[in-house]
Symmetry: C2
Subunit: 161 residues, 2 copies
Amino acid sequence: MTIPVREMSEWESRELLHHGNVGHLACVHDHRPYVVPVHYAFEAKQLYVFSLTGQKIDWMRSNPNACLQVEASGEHHRWNSVVVQGRYEELPDAPEWHNKRLHAWSLLQKRSFWWEPGSSKPGAGSDERDNPIFFRISIDEISGRELAANAGIHDVTILQE
Amino acid sequence: MTIPVREMSEWESRELLHHGNVGHLACVHDHRPYVVPVHYAFEAKQLYVFSLTGQKIDWMRSNPNACLQVEASGEHHRWNSVVVQGRYEELPDAPEWHNKRLHAWSLLQKRSFWWEPGSSKPGAGSDERDNPIFFRISIDEISGRELAANAGIHDVTILQE
């Protein structure tokens, strides 16, 4: 089996993050992973997210290590996937974060649905849901890979019956 | 802000897993998360995956705790997201797994692209990529949520400028 895989440059990976707006965010508690889709706004070394409260916020407050993955399909049946490793930083609704909050809001406002399915807790008190959390993932590392998806199953022989 | 969120029944969550074929799989090493897209085949209490070797296989061999999330958009701008918590179990190419391997292969064969972007290591030896790993996630817990995505940004007021 030959599957052509190419490592993307940092510039290409950043372009993909810039053009995307939905990713999958993973976090950890007690050696267990959890992953949910999120909408994000990318800028420089940060990914900004507004989120409803819930498990991932609880977990990242306790362990800030986070991983966000974003994929995109390209031309000629190519697939690109970028993985970001970073740290959760909560940005409270305080004067020092006001401009960042407005900026991220303006970026996210361009999307129809900036909030994610599966994030808010069913049955949670309405007051809890009234206060979405604003946070960022401070990027430590970006890596990206491109894969020629037309190298399909017919190129593969795993099982010889 | 009011975002209608409904907890899905186990039956509904299983239906979503059954009709889907792409999810995002998260794993953990040293308190750090990692997440990649995968193609899976769902059956009863198991999710079957063929995977190229790489970081996630290394990590799950060391810590079998895994989380797979699958989303689907439904009618009337609704979004559904199912999260599975489970354990990694590698199924070696040995006689006792032959039938399971064939069965999972037959399920995955219906998909054009059963393997995931971002999974194989660029520059890895070709012999390494010649031997995809067959594993399953043994499901411990399934939860699902439905969210009315047409409760869009205009229903939300976070910032009072």
